[in-house]
Every structure is written in structure tokens, then in C-alpha cells.
Amino acid sequence: MAELTRADVEHLSRLARIDLSDVELDRMVGELGVILESVATVQQAPTDGVEAMSHPLPLANVARPDEVRASLTPQEALSGAPEVDEQRFSVPRILDQD
């Protein structure tokens, strides 16, 4: 199994959009290493030819009748937003600055 490095954890935290501090990164490298070593034991299980199970129920696509129902009002949908502009969520810029 590949050893998890500090650079790996930093990369993963960027993928997960969590801006970890240096202190957190240092701590997490060690903690995750121990946990990964433990969970890697799944690779010792006799899984040759075993099907993967993603879900406890053998469900195929589930559909319901396409009926109009009551839903949230715009005001309700916006009620928890950090910032609102009229009937819209107000968000920081999404494009790079030039």
C-alpha cells in the first residue's frame, strides 16, 4: 500500500475544498495513515469473483407519478442563504480575476 504523504493530504484537502491549516495537515497525515493501514485489511478478504454491493436493497429505477405538488416558496428556499439578492442566492465571484 502506498504511504500517505503530507503532500497527498494537502492535495486531497484541495479536492475536498477544505482549507486545512498547517497544524491540521501535520496532525491528519499521521491519523489518516493509521486509519488507512487498518481499513486496508479489506484487501485480505477472499473477494475473488464476489459481486460488489452498493446498497442493501435490490432496487432498480424507482419512479413515481409525475404530479404537481406543493413545494418551497422562493422566500422559503432563500431563507437560509448567507446572502440574498432579490429572488436569487448571492455568491462570490466564480471566475478568475484577470
Binding site: 484541495r14 486545512l20 481499513v39 413515481r64 448567507p82 478568475d96
Partner: protein, 502 residues
């Protein structure tokens, strides 16, 4: 008996015969909360006004001769991972501090329609990740049996409020044991229904293929009554079972185990279990034999991989489910320091660092790793195959046994701080409860007594095949009857009063 010590079924009788009103009962719970919750800290939010309004409405409907649900007027506490319209819902996280949901979870709609006053929201490990409530952003809940010890987790608040007589009923959720392990260490009852038995609509998801809501109570019959109320098909949850709720109340009332085959799982007993917990377990098994059950020994060899598979499947789903906390539509928004005009992505990363606690971050990062290209087959893929092996082990065991039993948690309640620096030792708390979540089968925990070495509650777990939930209620109820007879009353009669003598 004072109202707060009565079971939900007893309270329902008192209301039916006119000996007590829902307002009196609800007020008694609220008074008790005011009296002891400063120490216990089971609640993150108490809604006295809303609960009393619902209670008054039920009393009015009863006086008008309306037909009411059996539990109408019995107050209930709801775990803070379940969304409640108009009541703050945080899931124990800073990232949702102050959020007031604009809608109800389906199970909450059912509680409201049946007329159960909602007392408030109970404390929990952040996003239900933990076994002690020490991962709550709002401080831990304390175990009423010993205020220096954990009440279990993640649903420590729901279990502790029952043990402290603050509420007769509570709602929990169980992804790897979060209903059953807190029940075990607080001397209360908790049941995880078959996966899909209770709607997940309105549960803030941790791991969607494992999460299941269920009843937390002080008696097996109360658990069956509440299970019956919140269970059943919901078209708002596509994984909800389109089948009748199993006859759990009838089974709890009959309490008949004669001729039942009780399987003891070799891998979930003995080594690794605290001696006092193991001893109470063995005595409980003897009670079931005395009640006419037959004991069989079963082996589930793949269970040894369950914890490892769980800590890959669950974090993988966590990393996906918690991506919605992006600081844009609800919850916390934190601007990164030292950056003028930050981008949405920078705001999201700063918010998630400030808003999530350590355990949540660990699991998101672990899941992100397990799902990474190059590692996917070795980790997530292998874990999914182990899941099949575990389901196969259950299927084989249920060919020779009607139910499987084990101690619920390997230990009694541990002191605060004991396992916080060692995540793996915390994860071991759920060693006996996790297999049921991976396979989707139902499980129930009830008290088996106090461990000799520390005088703290131990739990007895009963697992049944999928959609045969009634079997665990039959066994649980039969065992509870015999244990109460042996103890001269319920175990909780011995919990400290929590009120200082004047």
C-alpha cells in the same frame, strides 16, 4: 408513579382514561428538562411553546371525541440530524449553526400528524460521526448514570434524555450503531429498523446506503409503538420499502419466544468484550432459554472485515453527501483571511475548514482518497465486495437461526477524553453493530444489566432478517419481562436522580 417516569404506553393509557392530560405530561417533561439539562446537556434546542401548543391541541381533540393515534399527546425529542420546520437544526455542526429548515422530514410530519408534542432537538456527534457526542460542536452530552462519562454516540442526546427522564420517547438515526450503542451505555432501548423501513427524507445524510432512523425509548413496547408510527412507505424516499410495516407492536405484546432459534455469533462475543458486559450477555441468553428458546452457535467469518469495509464505504459516501455544504445556499459563510475579493471556491474552502470539526474532516479526506482514481478498486471496490460477503454470512446464519444475538457495545460508558486522541479505538465501539448496517438488517438493543466491575449499563443486541423486524421485538420483549422480574423493576429505576438533595 410520577409522570416523567412512566413509559409512553402508560402515558397513553393515562390520557385515554382521563387521569392525565397531554399538557400536564408535556409540562412535566419540560420542567424536568429545566431542572437537569444544565448538567446532562441532552438538548441543543427546547421548544416549550410549540410542544405545549401541540399538547393543548391534542387535549382539545380528545375532549371533542376524535379518534387519536395511540401515542397522541406523548411528548418526544428529535435528534438534531432530522430536519424540523421552524425549529433550528444543526446536526451538531457549526456549519449549520442557526439554520431553520423550511420543511419537515417525513418522520416529523408523521409525529406532528399523530399529535406528539416535539420537546426539542437532541445533541449528537457532528453529522452523526462518533460514538460519544464529544464530536458535537456544542459540547458533549453527559451520561445520567455518571456525569463524567460519555452517553454513547452519535445519538447520545436522544439516549441520555430518556435515561434522565427528560422525555419518554426520542428519535435516533443509526448508520453504524448510533441508536443502539447509546442505548447500550445508558440503559435504554433503541432499534434500527430494516434499511428502508423508515423514510430518510429530511434526514441530513451521512452515508445514504447505511443511514436509518428509528425509535429510542425506555421499553421494548414503546419502541415498537414508535417504530410503527414512523415506519412505512414514503414516495419522497426512493429507497423506502413499499411494504407494510412489520407487526412489531403485536410481537412486543405477545413476547413469545417458545421454539425460536437464537443464534449466538461467534465473532461478536468473548474476546474484546468487557467481562461484565459478556457476563450479563450470557445471563440474558439463559433467560431466553428459560423462556423456551433454543440456542444455536453460528459463525460469520467475514464480520472480521466489517469495521474496515465500513470505514471505507461510509467515508466515501460522506465525502459526497457533505459536498453540499458549500457556503452558498444555507449555513455558514466564512471569508478567507488576507484575500481581497475571494472566489466562491476559496470561500467554500475557508468555510468548510471553519465549519467542520476534526472527525468530519478526517472522514471527508479519507473518503476522497478511497474514491480517487488509482485507489478506487483497492479500497472502495474491495469494501463493496466485503459487504456482499457480510450479507452472505447473515443469509447463511439466518438459515439456522431466527434471530442473532450479541452484546451491543463491547464496553460500558467510558470517561470523557478516553478515546478522543485515538480515532481507531473510538471506531471499535461499533464493532458489533456495524454488520447490520452493511447488510441492511434490523437490530435492537435493550439493557442486560449493570456490569460488575463498574456498575454501569450493558446492552443486549438482537438482529433479525430484513423485513422481519417483529422478531427482535418478540425476543426483546420476552427478555425484558424476565429481566424486570429478576431485577424487581426496570434497570433505569437505579439511575441517579440528578437532583441535589436540598
Amino acid at each position: 408513579m410520577p409522570l416523567i417516569r412512566s413509559s409512553a404506553a402508560e402515558l397513553a393509557n393515562l390520557m385515554a382514561t382521563g387521569e392525565a392530560s397531554s399538557v400536564e405530561i408535556t409540562r412535566a417533561s419540560l420542567d424536568r428538562i429545566a431542572e437537569v439539562d444544565g448538567e446532562v446537556h441532552a438538548f441543543l434546542h427546547v421548544d416549550a411553546e410549540g410542544a405545549l401548543a401541540q399538547a393543548a391541541e391534542v387535549d382539545r381533540r380528545r375532549a371533542a371525541g376524535e379518534e387519536l393515534h395511540a401515542l397522541a399527546g406523548v411528548p418526544i425529542a428529535v435528534k438534531d440530524v432530522v430536519v424540523t420546520r421552524g425549529l433550528p437544526t444543526t446536526a451538531g455542526s457549526r456549519i449549520l449553526e442557526g439554520w431553520v429548515p423550511p420543511y419537515d422530514a417525513t418522520l416529523v410530519t408523521r409525529l406532528r400528524e399523530a399529535g406528539l408534542p416535539i420537546l426539542g432537538k437532541t445533541n449528537m456527534d457532528e453529522f452523526a460521526m462518533g460514538s460519544s457526542t464529544e464530536h458535537s460542536a456544542y459540547g458533549p452530552t453527559r451520561n445520567p448514570w455518571d456525569l463524567g462519562r460519555i452517553p454513547g454516540g452519535s445519538g447520545g442526546g436522544s439516549a441520555a434524555c430518556l435515561a434522565a427522564y427528560e422525555a419518554p420517547l426520542a428519535i435516533g438515526t443509526d448508520t453504524g450503531g448510533s441508536i443502539r450503542q447509546p442505548a447500550s451505555v445508558t440503559g435504554t432501548v433503541g432499534a434500527k429498523p430494516t434499511y428502508g423501513g423508515v423514510s430518510r427524507y429530511g434526514l441530513i445524510a451521512m452515508a445514504s446506503s447505511l443511514d436509518q432512523a428509528g425509535p429510542c425509548t425506555r421499553t421494548v413496547l414503546d419502541a415498537a409503538l414508535l417504530h410503527s408510527l414512523i415506519g412505512g412507505h414514503d414516495r419522497m424516499d426512493s429507497t423506502s420499502l413499499d411494504a407494510p410495516v412489520p407487526p412489531v407492536v403485536e410481537a412486543a405484546n405477545r413476547a413469545d419466544v417458545s421454539g425460536m432459534r437464537i443464534g449466538i455469533v461467534k465473532e461478536l462475543t468473548g474476546e474484546g468484550f468487557q467481562p461484565g458486559v459478556q457476563k450479563r450477555f450470557e445471563e440474558a441468553v439463559q433467560h431466553l432459554v428459560d423462556a423456551g428458546a433454543e440456542i444455536v452457535q453460528v459463525s460469520c467469518p467475514s464480520f472480521r472485515y466489517a469495521l474496515a469495509a465500513y470505514y471505507l464505504v461510509m467515508p466515501s459516501e460522506v465525502s459526497s453527501n457533505l459536498a453540499k455544504f458549500d457556503a452558498m445556499r444555507y449555513g455558514l459563510r466564512v471569508l478567507p483571511e488576507g484575500i481581497d475579493d475571494p472566489s466562491a471556491e476559496q470561500v467554500m474552502a475557508a468555510t468548510r475548514d471553519a465549519g467542520f470539526g476534526d472527525e468530519v474532516k478526517r472522514r471527508i479526506i479519507l473518503g476522497t482518497y478511497a474514491l480517487s482514481s488509482g485507489y478506487y478498486d483497492a479500497y472502495y471496490g474491495s469494501a463493496q465486495k466485503v459487504r456482499t460477503l457480510i450479507a452472505d454470512d447473515f443469509a447463511r446464519a439466518f438459515e439456522v437461526a431466527d434471530v442473532l444475538v450479541s452484546p451491543t457495545s463491547p464496553t460500558t460508558a467510558f470517561p470523557f477524553g478516553d478515546k478522543m486522541s485515538d480515532p481507531l479505538s473510538m471506531y471499535m465501539q461499533d464493532i458489533a453493530t456495524i454488520p447490520a448496517n452493511l447488510a441492511g438488517v434490523p437490530g435492537l438493543s435493550l439493557p442486560s444489566g449493570l456490569a460488575d466491575e463498574d456498575g454501569l449499563p450493558a446492552g443486549f443486541q438482537i438482529l433479525a432478517p430484513a423485513m422481519k423486524d417483529e422478531r427482535m421485538y418478540a425476543v426483546g420483549s420476552a427478555l425484558e419481562k424476565r429481566l424486570h422480574a429478576a431485577w424487581g423493576g426496570p434497570l433505569l429505576a437505579r439511575v441517579p436522580s440528578l437532583v441535589k438533595e436540598a
